[in-house]
Amino acid sequence: MSEMVPTEDTRRIALVDLLDRVLGGGVVITGEITLSLADVDMVRISLRTLIASVSALVPDPAEQDSADG
């Protein structure tokens, strides 16, 4: 039996796009909550640093093309 996968499930989501939306978008409710990411900007900055340091470890095939730039 073959399975039908809805297109929404197969959408390729770049992590950065996703984090921008789930950390930067969505309804923010403060108040009677155990956690609120009050310092979202701070969190995002540190995440960006983290992601940058991860991607820096991955060799970039386009690197050589830009040698003349």
Partner: protein, 259 residues
Amino acid sequence: MTADDGVWLYSITTDSVDDAQLAEVTGVAGEPVRAVASAGLVAVVGTVSLSEFGQEPLQRKLEDLDWLAATARAHDAVVAAVTRRGPTVPLRLATLYLDDDRVRVLLTERREEFGATLRRVTGRSEWGVKGYGDAKILSQDVKEEPSPTGAAGKGTAYLLRRRAELSAQQDVERKAADHAGEIHAALLEQAVDGLRRQVTDPVLTGKRAWMIFNGTYLVDNDRIEGFAALVTALDTERPGITLELTGPWPPYSFAGIDG
């Protein structure tokens, strides 16, 4: 639920969504998700352990990229699943309540706002449009100043050349900004609402491409084809600019309730 449990909120939807429709859906802790109903609204929630998802452990784990990526994808998967079943107001990642009763109080107290937002996003979805620029192609129309020759000394020639390079660079950037503004204006005409986000650092996208535009739009579902066609048309008719369409997203950027 025990004292060590918390309630993770994924989204708010209408009471046409119930437990039966959420039977196959699991959340950030792999937990089953369920509907908490009050005031004609439903909050889609999951019970999670506060030893893993409480404030202190969360703040530590947010720094773990693998954990964060998995959690963000799980959160989004639940929101997306709810979106397929009805209009949805997504909650920001990591919104936790102590128990279901407090969630019901939230729904009752904010009934008007959630109701208005749900009406606003009904029959609509969010679409992302990113634009990448090719500096070489964009600079083709930009006039190049003739390089100085002859009498001028070596140092002067260098300074003049340097100045010309800088000014060419500024021209290309201005041109890219013009394109970005025009693209946004054109897309807004086919959308209910739209906003421009910060362009993403190329280091983060893993591409060396130069991102010049990052917009997100709320589009009527029956106008999606036209919107996609417009993106393709803008992409085609603007040499030096490549557009990328993503979606449908739950309306994260247009949920519009704060505080």
